[in-house]
């Protein structure tokens, strides 16, 4: 997660790696890790000591085992709107999904550990980034 400057000067890149299941950067979570409000406009994901790798740079060739912990909160800031193009575009198209998505604001606290290094964030936010929340479907569900 932490880095400095452009990718060329990035010094750490903690990511979920590629699992035997084929998932990339996508790690199984316990149902209790994620709380979603009844109306779907607020969510909190909290995970502790998740095994990841530090590849030091985006798609870097070297990997060091690491763990990260984080608490992320999302709050919708606008209405849900229908998004995506579904089956009207090829399956590999980024718009090959259908969803009801709302813009959101998110905050996060992150920390991580690996051999010889650890970090802890302040409150990071999407005020200079981006967040969204909603429901979506793709593939056979479109």
């Amino acid at each position: 997660m932490p880095g400095t400057g452009t990718p060329a000067t990035q010094v750490h890149d903690n990511n979920g790696g590629i699992l035997a299941s084929g998932f990339f950067w996508t790690v199984p979570a316990d149902e209790r890790n994620l709380r979603v409000s009844r109306n779907g406009r607020r969510a909190v994901l909290e995970m502790r000591d998740v095994p990841v790798v530090d590849s030091f740079q985006f798609f870097g060739p070297n990997q060091l085992p690491a763990t990260v912990s984080f608490r992320i909160e999302w709050r919708a800031t606008g209405p849900f709107e229908q998004r995506g193009s579904g089956a009207t575009v090829p399956p590999e198209d980024p718009a090959a999904f259908l969803g009801d998505i709302a813009p959101a604001r998110s905050t996060a606290h992150c920390s991580g550990e690996e051999w010889g290094f650890s970090f802890s964030s302040g409150q990071a936010s999407t005020d200079r980034g981006y967040a969204q929340i909603g429901r979506s479907r793709n593939g056979v569900f479109v």
Partner: protein
């Protein structure tokens, strides 16, 4: 929109939010910007691409499953 440190281009609302094919459910996406303090005493710029997914999906063997995931 562009992330301030990496220069990464951010996705919009019309880009597939999940990384799971044959998925139907909840998803949330966040690209955070902030700072972190390292054990070496250095203050680092921090950018994230953190997501979560919960729903029904079809696994590699063709079985329908339900799960919760984090994307790191």
């Amino acid at each position: 929109m562009t992330l301030p440190f990496s220069g990464g281009q951010l996705q919009g609302l019309d880009v597939e939010p999940t990384t799971i094919r044959d998925f139907n459910g909840f998803s949330a996406v966040a690209f955070h910007v902030g700072t972190a303090t390292g054990s070496d005493g250095t203050r680092y710029d921090l950018e994230t691409d953190l997501r979560t997914f919960r729903g029904t999906y079809i696994d590699r063997t063709g079985h329908r499953r339900f799960g919760t995931f984090g994307f790191i």
